[in-house]
């Protein structure tokens, strides 16, 4: 295998891997921009993956599967919004609860929704249809970058959604409202904005994106269902939001880098190279790199005030009559 083929394959794998991460990260950016921290991403993605897979398995309808994944993502985030916005619960603990409940429910349903012939398990079942790559004629023949034009419809969707998110948040009036709610809820409320309504809405939207991100895994990347198949990607998402400095345009860089690192181990093995390090070390490397990058970025942010600043009201409850 020559270097160009290897790079093309690596880019293709990175895009497939990064798609799921990008959807969920975009969702979390929307949520955090309004000042709500949703640590429930891991559980929401897993439940989305389950809902998508189960729907596609039962009906064979992929669009319906995507819709169901978004619906359960929204439903799970509704709990988070209710706890954090209405009941003013601690956002960290609430997010952890959402992750534990979402993962538990997904694993439980995975043991219930399968066919009787498989003891009601969904694990080991195959889908009759899945999202396959669609090649755009001529463009897909470009060396290396051609991989960008031979991806699934889910990835093409991101080519629209990412620029849209940036434009929406930074260039529209409504985007300004969102940022005002996340930066200074008191002022936003004084301007006549309903802080609770904005926070509810974008927590739900964030959950829909996370559900979609999960469905990308089970309907396209690895079309199957396995207990805990997100394997910590929901937590990488939380870190990616920080790396992107809450800017959708930078989300892509982060997801490409992390998708690339994760794909590298498979690409190396597929290319038949002998591994210099044990497979487990490659497996843990995305987490180690996340840890190192996060530390480095936090230190830089402190040296240069204002770099990578989070929304000021992130993580804190808001009530108009609080003193």
């Amino acid at each position: 295998m020559n270097a160009i083929d290897f790079t093309t394959n690596l880019l293709a794998a990175t895009l497939a891997m990064g798609t799921s991460l990008t959807y969920a990260t975009l969702g979390e950016v929307y949520t955090e921009k309004t000042g709500v921290l949703n640590l429930g991403m891991e559980g929401t993605m897993l439940l989305g993956a389950l809902a998508g897979f189960a729907t596609a398995f039962k009906t064979g309808n992929l669009l319906l599967a995507l819709f169901m994944a978004m619906a359960v993502g929204a439903a799970l985030s509704l709990i988070h919004a209710f706890l954090c916005v209405t009941m003013r619960a601690n956002q960290v603990v609430s997010g952890l609860a959402i992750t534990m409940f979402g993962s538990g429910l997904a694993n439980f349903l995975g043991q219930r929704l399968g066919p009787a012939s498989n003891r009601y398990n969904l694990t080991g079942m195959n889908l009759s249809s899945r999202f396959t790559n669609i090649a755009i004629p001529y463009l897909c023949d470009i060396p290396i970058l051609g991989a960008l034009f031979n991806v699934s419809i889910l990835t093409y969707g991101l080519y629209v959604l990412v620029p849209f998110a940036w434009f929406f948040l930074y260039k529209t009036r409504h985007g300004m409202v969102i940022r005002a709610v996340g930066e200074n809820p008191r002022t936003a409320a004084a301007m006549g904005i309903s802080v609770s309504r904005v926070r509810y809405l974008y927590t739900l939207i964030g959950g829909m994106f996370a559900g979609l991100g999960g469905a990308c895994l089970s309907l396209s990347f690895i079309p199957s269902w396995n207990d805990g198949m997100t394997g910590g990607k929901g937590w990488i998402v939380i870190a990616l939001v920080i790396f992107s400095a809450w800017n959708p345009a930078r989300v892509v860089i982060g997801t490409l880098v992390f998708g690339g690192i994760t794909s590298l181990q498979f690409s190396i093995q597929a290319a038949g190279f002998k591994l210099m390090v044990p497979a487990q070390f490659l497996g843990l490397s995305p987490y180690l790199i996340t840890l190192l990058v996060l530390t480095a970025m936090t230190i830089i942010a402190q040296k240069r005030k204002g770099a990578f600043a989070s929304p000021s009201a992130l993580g804190s409850a808001f009530a108009i009559d609080d003193k």
Partner: protein, 354 residues
């Protein structure tokens, strides 16, 4: 007329007791709905779980044995949460403990067998403490977000442990797992399946209660968690306390790992990441960070786990325990607002000024 929340003048004691108890009942009710919707009879399932957890002497012993590492992890998380340090890494610190004791058991063969257990325990606890100290230092020195660092460190050590039991430390026979610890170095059993780890756990509850509620240091930790700025004004060194708090938290989680491997698994192998650290979060939060209450909550969580293991044999979904554990926190979080707020009708005189 609208109903809304109004701040209480002081925390309601009645509510601090009532809310967790009510949450437990609500979560069982919600669990019943989940079961009914997935075409499993809730009553049959709950009865099977109850029987699986407490149905016989052996089952009761299993449940108690399971509650020991859970209680310790709950205590570990509780210490960090007291500081509002979100230590999600008890899982990793637990594994660090297991790695530490396995290292001693396997390679410190120059020691007399009688010394292996105490030395192994000390090394394991130290490993847990050091693993926790890394995010502690990162937070104290540069305020690096601890939820993410502790979590990432879980995945890192899970991968490392896997490397150890599949490659580096693998026993010559079989395809995974280290060789068993010498039998003379096992933590003895005291009642059937229940092992001497229970003494450690219960003693630690008493010691922690004393340290956290009766000493100056415990008071400082509490103050940092409640009101960081006030603590700073009082001259409390926040950096030092964060690192010390995390050392203690990690040491306790490490102890959980050390005890469970010395008494139950006797090796480092697959399944070392059993999720005790995450259950510890539920235990700490449900018990309102109180060590004595943690005993009861840990027992309930252990019962949910042994109870749902029993479901597997009956061809009922064994992941139900996981669902229930996740469910419990939700009504608790929703309800805890009532300890600090009360419901009030809007439009009354006091509200007009708000």
């Amino acid at each position: 007329m609208r109903i809304h929340l109004q701040k209480r003048d002081s925390r309601s004691t009645l509510m601090t007791i009532l809310v967790p108890v009510a949450s437990l009942l609500v979560s069982f009710l919600l669990g019943a709905i989940v079961l009914a919707l997935s075409k499993a009879d809730p009553l049959v399932t709950y009865r099977a779980m109850l029987r699986g957890a407490f149905g016989s002497q052996t089952k009761l012993q299993y449940t108690i044995a399971k509650s020991i590492p859970l209680l310790l992890c709950g205590l570990a998380v509780g210490v960090a949460f007291r500081l509002k340090f979100w230590n999600i890494g008890a899982e990793g610190q637990y594994i660090a403990g297991v790695i530490g004791i396995t290292w001693v058991m396997q390679f410190w063969t120059f020691l007399p067998v009688a010394l292996l257990l105490p030395v192994g325990m000390v090394v394991g606890v130290a490993c847990g403490a050091l693993w926790a100290a890394i995010p502690g230092v990162l937070k104290a020195q540069w305020s690096v977000d601890e939820t993410l660092t502790t979590l990432m460190m879980n995945y890192i050590i899970i991968g490392y442990a896997e490397y150890l039991y599949i490659n580096a430390w693998k026993a010559p026979r079989g395809n995974m797992g280290t060789i068993l610890y010498p039998e003379a170095a096992w933590l003895p059993r005291i009642w059937g399946r229940v092992h001497a780890g229970l003494y450690f756990a219960l003693a630690l509850v008493v010691v922690l209660y004393f340290v956290l509620y009766k000493t100056r240091w415990g008071f400082e930790l509490n103050m940092i968690g409640k009101n960081r700025r006030a603590a700073q004004c009082q001259g409390v060194c926040i950096k030092r306390n964060i690192i010390l708090g995390m050392l203690l938290s990690g040491a306790i989680a490490g102890l959980a790992g050390v005890i469970d491997s010395a008494a139950v698994t006797h090796q480092l192998t697959k399944g070392v990441n059993a999720g005790y650290g995450f259950t510890g979060i539920i235990i700490a939060w449900m018990s309102n960070l109180n060590p004595f209450v943690s005993i009861l909550v840990a027992l309930i969580m252990a019962a949910l786990e042994t109870g749902s293991d029993a479901l597997q044999i009956l061809k009922l979904p064994s992941a139900m325990g996981e669902v229930m554990q996740g469910l419990i926190l939700i009504p608790l979080l929703a309800g805890s607002v009532f300890t600090e707020y009360r419901l009030a009708k809007s439009g009354t005189h006091t509200e007009a000024t708000a």
